[in-house]
């Protein structure tokens, strides 16, 4: 790959900030959008120039964050409906090829997929992790 991929992350809470840091360590270019500038305090200082305060459903805010060049968008706010809206807007209006949304409710994941949005459900993943931990440490 000639250019580092540009990844826009909407929602800079625990998940968004953690993920931004991980991607940054792997050499990706990350941009973060959050309505609340205070959220950016969770990020390491060297990423402060990559933060954009504003409403992610406002196209002007997304443009400022570089959405038109983004290869990926990650919707990681705490709200499922916002994540769906952001992901769909980025995909349909800005042609971002990969949209991944955090979905809190495991039962909603399927409807997200119908919109071509990939999903990450922390609840379902934690559930599977606990089950495998139990299998490993099972008393006889």
């Amino acid at each position: 790959m000639a250019l580092a991929p540009l990844i826009v992350i909407v929602g800079c809470g625990r998940l968004g900030s953690h993920f931004a840091e991980r991607l940054d360590q792997r050499g990706c270019l990350v941009r973060l959008v959050d309505r609340d500038a205070a959220a950016f305090a969770l990020l390491p200082a060297h990423l402060s120039g990559n933060c954009f305060e504003g409403e992610a459903l406002d196209p002007a805010v997304l443009r400022r964050a570089g959405i038109e060049r983004a290869t990926h968008v990650i919707a990681a706010t705490p709200k499922d409906d916002r994540n769906l809206a952001v992901a769909v807007v980025c995909r349909k209006a800005f042609g971002v090829s990969i949209a991944i949304a955090r979905v809190g409710d495991p039962q909603r994941a399927e409807s997200f997929r119908e919109f071509g949005i990939r999903t990450v459900c922390p609840t379902a993943l934690a559930g599977s992790a606990v089950l495998s931990m139990i299998e490993e440490s099972r008393p006889r």
């Binding site: 953690h18 993920f19 990450v120 934690a126 931990m133």
Partner: protein, 145 residues
């Protein structure tokens, strides 16, 4: 392999999901929550365990859930500090063999391990999964859908 006696504290999204999974897998499950309304998250076709309404930070409530018999306790409320406290009580006071606590803040995970508690951090696990999805897409050329 015998089935386990598992106590799940907190019947929110994660707690109810775990209770449903464990009960469906054939384990004996007791769910504790401060609010009876939370038990609505237990699926009628999956969950065949017990429900205890009460504050699990009170040992009497844990006793009502028969914690002395528990093989495993999972503290899955929405508060890190409450999970830590319940997990410690289960481990140190009641000697429950396996205790897991949900941790919201990834930075706390290490502290918990030092205390002998197993942790589940949905943020970390989800972060891993996001990374996998992103890099799989990049390797496939970035525009595979």
């Amino acid at each position: 392999m015998r089935s386990l006696y598992v106590i799940v504290v907190g019947c929110g999204r994660l707690g109810s999901h775990l209770a449903n999974l464990l009960s469906r897998a054939g384990h004996n499950v007791v769910v504790i929550d401060r609010k009876a309304a939370a038990f609505a998250g237990l699926a009628a076709d999956a969950y065949s365990g017990f429900r205890v309404e009460g504050d699990a930070s009170e040992p009497a409530v844990l006793r009502r859930a028969r914690i002395e018999q528990a093989d495993l306790l999972i503290a899955a409320t929405s508060e890190d500090n409450l999970n830590l406290m319940i997990a410690l009580v289960a481990r140190k006071v009641f000697g429950v063999k396996h205790v897991m606590a949900r941790v919201y803040d990834p930075k706390r995970e290490e502290t918990y391990r030092e205390l002998g508690l197993e942790t589940v951090c949905p943020t970390l696990i989800a972060g891993e999964h996001f990374l996998t999805l992103v890099f799989r897409a990049l390797e496939a050329g970035g525009a595979d859908s």
